[in-house]
Amino acid sequence: MPMLERADWYDIARDTNWTPKYVSQEALFPDVMTGAQGVPMAQWQSYDEPYKTSYPEYVRVQREKDAGAYSVKAALERSNIFASADPGWHSILKAHYGSLAVGEYAAMSGEARMVRFGQAPGMRNMATFGMLDENRHAQLQLYYPHDLVSKDRQFDWAQKAYHTNEWAAIAVRHTLDDLFMARSATETAIMLTFAFETGFTNMQFLGLAADAAETGDYTFASLVSSIQTDESRHAQIGGPALEVLIANGRKAEAQKLVDVAIARTWRLFAILTGPSMDYYTPIEHRKQSFKEFMQEWIVGQFERSLIELGLDLPWYWDKMIAEFEFQHHAYHLGLWFWRKTLWWNPAAAVTPECRAWLEEKYPGWNDTFGKCWDVITDNLLAGREDLTHPETLPVLCNMSQIPICAIPGNGWNVKDYPLDYEGRTYHFNSEIDRWVFEQDPVRYRDHMSLVDRFLAGEIQPPTLAGALAYMGLSPAEMGDDAHKYAWADAFRPDPLAKSAA
């Protein structure tokens, strides 16, 4: 019997709308869960997913992808690639796994909400595959690092990070909760798949796969490319949802969701991808600076997709682009200085050669961030490592949960952006973070940053050591300089002085 082409039956087969008899439409699809913004179900019929696949096709392709990734892993199991890679590369892997693996599991729940409450049959169908994708991503990214725990127990944080009160883990959780764990189906489509995935993670995974191949870590390269092919498919759920909202007079609402989601996503990228690209990646493997990457992919590509959909650029677009120059340098300095609070070992990457690269990519770096690193370097050369550690907590942004920081030295522009709301003062890193809070204060007001908890007496004893214990970091897991300060030796004037110090 001849088989029909997919295009001949797909629309009918995936159209699972029906008229409920036993409950009302509103009870079946409450607006709080659908996020349809009052756009009636009939209007959602025009939702047209750009990527169409059937269940048998999906299973066949996914099976091949899994087999491919696992066979590369098995083939390279006994190779020496991991041991011979630069410690900076290990740090990229640890930061990546810990901040994302369990987040993928959470994303499965976000996709499931679209499966159940999506207003368009096409959205529900694509999200079904998206849900299975995210399950696969969680499993892969928990399994791969598990093998590395015996070599280096910081890899245990792939499993552990989300279950602790470590500050970077709180920052990631707070953001992902906001983007998709505590959002309706339509909001998840826009904030998770359109803003977070199309705008950022899809690019991030492409870039990571290339870096891994360049470093010789083919296991990770094949893992990440395998995930990225899923990502580029299910990231397309949001676009048609935006089209439906805009066509039905909900552009302002759609724009706000996009603006909030990009603002939040940008912070995570700046703190995770920024230091990875400009510092942790050994200089000989760097192809682009983080700023160049953001200019090309986010400004160049994503800006175009916003305009094509009929959206405006977020009001803060120029401010965000200005941050490409400095925010991740500040985050890097903070990560390194408070390195004992991390589950990875940040690579300082400020040798004379690295500083020349930074100065070339970011003119003025030596006169600003370089000034802080000068003091740090001098302390290390003088045998005063103790002064390269903090004795207090940084103040955390009440939106991003990341230290409030900016340009030091001769470009000093650090500033608090406070807001008084219902008797409490909130502190923010920028006008953008404060604006996000103001869009929905009730949503955000009760969250306590780690510093708020410290001041409320929730962290005992109220010392830096007490804070480290609260964050769940055992002494063997706490971060340290990735290269054990070897980089500072390059600044010693006389090579003979090395042994004397």
Partner: protein, 86 residues
């Protein structure tokens, strides 16, 4: 006498920091407490200069001998610490 947390925004440093001080502290003592977490760690010392305290965005410095308890500074207010001629 009461423990009093303020936020230090120290000139030439890159980050806001929590600094616990006391209502009995003078502004010079508050400045010294803030300097402990910035100067010599990420900010170079400036011998011969003193550090003065003002509100974020404020034009005037608080008098050096004024006690924190005598000012209208609120707990967890962001203060700027600026190098000045002695």
């Amino acid at each position: 006498m009461a423990l009093f947390p303020v936020i230090s925004n120290f000139q030439y440093d890159f980050v806001l920091q929590l600094v616990p001080v006391d209502t009995d502290n003078t502004m010079d003592e508050v400045a010294a407490a803030a300097a402990h977490h910035s100067v010599g760690r990420r900010v170079a010392a400036q011998p011969g200069k003193i550090v003065r305290v003002r509100r974020q965005g404020g034009a005037d410095f608080f008098p050096r001998a004024m006690r924190l308890g005598e000012t209208d500074i609120k707990p967890m207010e962001t203060l700027e610490f600026i190098f000045c001629e002695a």
